[in-house]
């Protein structure tokens, strides 16, 4: 219980840190948002006395108030889901990002899931056939595949399969003529549009998981309890799944955490390449047009998604491995 409270507390603390960081970036980045906004507003011929109010609309605090008040103002607005008004896009930042978030999470979740499952299965087989042609071949392949940056693969796939061969669409999330709903044509269209983005993260990602699963499994195979299990005459299948795979999967957990963060963070480049309007896409568009409310909202949104993802993974992990919940304090020198 205490451990649970600690994890949740840490997640909230991280969230606070992200919002504070965002405030610091808005407020203190040289040539940053405030200066930029003020100059833009002056150019539009808005009277000097009004500028401060306009700025408040965009960034949720008034630049002429004392610093601590600005900070509290900003914190309160963000916690209420008010990220300010988009500068170039239409509407409230929160509304724009909230409808984009499910798409980003969808891509990231499927990508993480496929990477992990394929990696674990292939890695387990590699460990069992250690030294065989299969093992050597897959090791070499996954090393090289893991060396390709995912966006390089994405650009290559897009160029070959979407632009030149025209098997896949060059952008978008779904055929806009279809009515949203839980019907097959709609789902099919969603999967069709998501195929290339998911392919590009999965193809480069599974190799690393497979290699670490392979390493873990090999070291588990050398453990005494596996020998005992063999001596007891347990079926090979049972040993492989209940004894080896379970124990070898435990250390992979950090990798899964990093994969979540990587997939969500990488969405900025990936969604821009595939013109896939998720949070990353808007964050990028905001960055290019210097739309600071959108940029900061995107950063907070993606960070929140990562924090929640990590928290979920953390809590489920403690169910699988009870050792994780108890971490003793050590003597201090």
């Amino acid at each position: 219980m205490q451990w649970l409270a600690k994890r949740i507390g840490q997640a909230l603390f991280t969230l606070w840190a992200v919002i504070t960081l965002s405030f610091v970036l808005i407020r203190f980045l040289p040539g940053g948002p405030i200066d930029y906004l003020v100059v833009q507003l002056r150019k539009q011929g808005i009277p000097e006395s009004q500028i401060s109010n306009y700025v408040r609309n965009y960034v949720s605090f008034q630049p002429d108030q004392p610093l601590w008040l600005q900070y509290l103002d900003y914190m309160a607005s963000v916690l209420q889901g008010d990220f300010g008004e988009a500068y170039f896009l239409d509407g409230q930042v929160f509304d724009i990002l909230a409808q984009a978030l499910p798409w980003t999470v969808f891509l990231a979740a499927i990508g993480t899931f496929l990477t992990t499952v394929i990696g674990i299965v292939v890695g387990g087989f590699m460990a069992y056939t250690e030294g065989s042609k299969f093992d050597t071949g897959v090791t070499l392949f996954s090393t090289i595949a893991g060396g390709i940056p995912y966006y390089i693969l994405a650009i290559g796939l897009l160029y070959v399969f979407a632009y030149r061969l025209q098997y896949f669409p060059t952008g978008g999330q779904v055929d806009p003529e279809l009515v949203p709903g839980f019907k097959w044509p709609y789902i099919e269209s969603v999967l069709y549009h998501a195929a290339l983005p998911i392919l590009s993260t999965t193809l480069v990602g599974w190799g690393g998981t497979a290699l670490s699963m392979r390493g873990n499994s090999i070291s588990v195979l050398g453990e005494d309890y596996i020998r005992i299990a063999r001596l007891r005459g347990l079926p090979r299948r049972r040993i492989a799944i209940r004894y080896v795979a379970r124990n070898a999967m435990l250390p992979m957990y950090t990798g899964i955490l990093l994969a979540i963060a990587f997939m969500l963070g990488g969405s900025v480049i990936l969604e821009e390449i595939f013109a896939y309007p998720g949070v990353g896409y808007y964050l990028f568009q905001g960055t290019v047009s210097r739309d600071y409310p959108v940029m900061m909202g995107g950063l907070i949104m993606i960070s929140t998604a990562v924090i929640i993802g990590v928290l979920i993974a953390d809590l489920t992990y403690s169910k699988i491995d009870p050792r994780a919940a108890g971490e003793g304090d050590r003597e201090s020198y």
């Binding site: 840490q10 603390f13 991280t14 840190a17 992200v18 960081l21 970036l25 980045l29 040289p30 040539g31 940053g32 069992y128 250690e130 030294g131 093992d135 090791t139 090393t143 090289i144 893991g146 060396g147 390709i148 940056p149 966006y151 390089i152 650009i155 290559g156 160029y159 632009y163 030149r164 090999i218 070291s219 195979l221 050398g222 020998r227 990093l258 963060a261 969500l264 963070g265 990488g266 900025v268 480049i269 990353g280 964050l283 990028f284 960055t287 290019v288 210097r290 940029m295 900061m296 995107g298 950063l299 960070s303 990562v306 924090i307 990590v310 304090d329 050590r330 003597e331 201090s332 020198y333």
Partner: protein, 364 residues
């Protein structure tokens, strides 16, 4: 490992009374000895592993490209030849005749725009080569920065424990959770850095946390060992113990991380250049890709495919080289794998021997 072996002579130099008796020759000998121990011997082990060897050669190739290559190849300018010259076109390699003993033999090779040209007739090979130096600078700045920060914080956290540990680890956890790429994009877009060293620093801002954790857990196991306890009993200061006893044991993690960090920085910088977030003031592989991709019509013909694919291959090869090199390092430093490795070159190492029933063939 290394520190245990070196304990003997280090204690000698630390005793103040003896240093006056030391002569130049012994200093020189000691210097040669440490060069042998720190550079030549690890390199020999490294060379025995094919991954490390291939990785090392690839990295060396890029370093040569960024240093010598820049001097040999002309600065790319528009209109070096016709547009969209294909790679390995007719006449990319010709031989000038050289008179040898009165005979004219075609022996002097002349390489002319070997990878073709882009839409402005700029040579692609020249562009690739001239993008390398700033790439190397970014890697050095970013990887050194994140490695140094991670080592210092990780060692401190692991060794001091208690409150220091908890606050540093919380900081590391937060840094690991905040998605690095969006943060870096925002900072880079606002600052518009042009100096490659500064770009490297910005890109390295978030990838110290992983190593920091690894270093900490390593320190936790090292700090309980006898030689560290001995140093503590002798009353040596904490920084002294950290530098002399603890950090040598971490060199494996640190060097592997350095390579990984270098890879991350290449990924991010090329990605940011490709997206057009960083200013297009220098040659960069990402800039080439961006132009190849956005130049009108380039996507709809195969004619310009080489313009897009050549920088992509360049990055991929470097990235694979770095991965192979770090895997090679890992195999040498990882005791479990090394034990097997040593066995495969027939050397006795009994206490670390693994008796896994499956392992009869060395994996490499």
């Amino acid at each position: 490992m290394a520190s245990q072996q070196s304990d003997g002579e280090r204690v000698e130099t630390e005793i103040p009374f003896r240093t006056t008796a030391e002569t130049d020759v012994s200093h020189r000998e000691q210097f040669l000895y440490s060069v042998d121990r720190l550079l030549i011997a690890p390199f020999r082990i490294l060379w025995a592993d094919w991954r490390a060897r291939v990785g090392f050669l690839i990295i060396l190739l890029y370093v040569l490209m960024g240093t010598v290559g820049v001097l040999v190849n002309p600065v790319p300018t528009a209109g070096m030849d016709e547009r969209y010259l294909q790679p390995f076109h007719d006449g990319w390699l010709t031989f000038e005749s050289v008179s040898v003993l009165g005979l004219h033999l075609p022996l002097d090779p002349v390489i002319y725009l070997p990878l073709g040209t882009d839409a402005l007739g700029k040579g692609l090979w020249s562009q690739i080569v001239h993008a390398t130096p700033s790439m190397l600078k970014m890697i050095i700045a970013g990887a050194v920065f994140s490695t140094v920060v991670a080592t210092i914080l990780g060692t401190l956290a692991g060794y001091k424990g208690g409150y220091t540990d908890r606050s540093i680890m919380t900081l590391a956890d937060i840094t690991m959770t905040i998605p690095g790429l969006p943060l870096v994009i925002i900072i880079a877009a606002a600052l518009q850095p042009e100096n490659p060293y500064i770009i490297g620093l910005i890109l390295g801002i978030n990838n110290w946390a992983g190593l920091c954790r690894a270093v900490r857990s390593q320190v936790l196991s090292v700090r309980e060992r006898n030689f560290v306890e001995a140093s503590r009993a002798m009353g040596l200061s904490t920084p002294r113990i950290l530098v002399d006893d603890i950090i040598p044991d971490l060199m494996s993690y640190v060097s592997i991380h350095f390579v990984t960090a270098a890879r991350g920085i290449i990924f991010e910088s090329v990605g940011l250049y490709y997206l057009g977030i960083l200013p297009f003031t220098t040659f960069n592989w990402g800039v080439m890709m961006n132009l190849a991709y956005t130049t009108s019509g380039a996507l709809y013909t195969w004619q310009s495919a080489h313009w897009l694919f050549i920088p992509m291959i360049t990055i991929t090869v470097l990235s694979v080289g770095l991965i192979l090199f770090s895997q090679g390092l890992d195999r040498i430093f990882n005791p479990r794998v090394r034990a097997r490795h040593v066995k495969s070159v027939s050397s006795a190492d009994d206490d670390e021997e693994q008796t896994s029933p499956m392992t009869t063939v060395p994996t490499n």
